[in-house]
Symmetry: C2
Subunit: 221 residues, 2 copies
Amino acid sequence: MIRFESPKVTADVVLFSIYNDNLQMLLVKRKNPPFRGQWALPGGFLERKESLLAAARRELFEETGVRHLYLEQLYTFGDPGRDPRGRVVTVAYFALVPSPLSVSAGSDAREAKWWPAGGLPKLAFDHKRIIECALTRLRAKLEYTNVAWSLLPKKFALTDLQKVYELVSGKELDKRNFRKKILSLGLLRPLKERRTGAHQRPARLYAFKTKKKVELKRFFK
Amino acid sequence: MIRFESPKVTADVVLFSIYNDNLQMLLVKRKNPPFRGQWALPGGFLERKESLLAAARRELFEETGVRHLYLEQLYTFGDPGRDPRGRVVTVAYFALVPSPLSVSAGSDAREAKWWPAGGLPKLAFDHKRIIECALTRLRAKLEYTNVAWSLLPKKFALTDLQKVYELVSGKELDKRNFRKKILSLGLLRPLKERRTGAHQRPARLYAFKTKKKVELKRFFK
DNA sequence: ATCTTTATTGTATAATCAACACTATATGAA
DNA sequence: TTCATATAGTGTTGATTATACAATAAAGAT
């Protein structure tokens, strides 16, 4: 029934974060051919007795040192010819970490770097397509789930949350309507604490009541 | 970099249709071990130089003779131990065909049969889980896309469309509100034709203006 | 005090959703 | 030809939700 040597299977991860007023993505520089020296998604081959999710988690940890994050399967890419070494089927994952995140310390020696979603370098393999797929998914999930909240730290101001929505969707939102809607969901707990900055009124901080995934009614517009 | 013999990759398909007042799914009886004689999803190993989508399409055609249908990637299952023969990664697809569909003529000699979603037999491998995943996807997509329309023939009455929504979602819908909403989308073209039945007023038939996938606002409730 | 910067709050209008019941038109039987 | 039956078709009202829009509050720096 098996008609040829099996494809190789990899797990690759599209990791998003927000800092510097930008939606950013983590890429690593390839140290081996093919595409040596080019930027690519972190990822690698599935190990024996390892689930796909575990492989994604392991690869990400090796590159970034990050262990706890939002991680879900994105899509599987398996067109013949997408890897010059031979048949490779890639199960892509989609991940979110709160900003700010220092990512320098990968145990893997590869260079890892955050890139703004708007200004990515030339990418190895079909990784451009995978990233487009991830961006589409992120924007879509923003509308009907609370995943975007994984991009924030434990304590945050409502303005921060609004910023996440604006940066990901690329649309400006009305502050009053945003706050009304978010608060009406009843998923945020206001904290005693405030955050103060230079020359401004201090902002009240909030925390999520739950870390669980929630399905919302379609969100904005 | 490759540490062990590669996993095998299969494409399996969860095919839905509606007839007999039921949401039905196509299963095939396995003629070889493992799970010989048990029911399973149609599918099989990826061929050389064949894309994942092409593999799903080919497997489905071999089992059912169906060529034109709605087909999208569902999810990839790769836990170690899900196939007793060894490591197998399955890319599952999700398919819809209009009813009624005669499916008897698979070129493959395997027995194929439609089963109502509510009364499935014991299934081989982890196919029960895959089917649950597909049902969840179908119900979700019903709410914010027009995919469910792939379950109808070219010409249909509004009652038929409502029936699709009711059978998939398991909820009864108000006839007046349903018709208002569907027609307000402007995606249906009323035909001259009517369909007549015994002892009843004839129903006007409609057709979809487009076959393309459309993203809708969240649909019912 | 005053200036600067960001935080916070409410209202009026429009659009959408949800609940609800009767009339219309065909067939077949009396 | 009338009647019974079965499904098709149609509007209104009240509730909820979405949108548009601008002034005041609190802190730090000078």
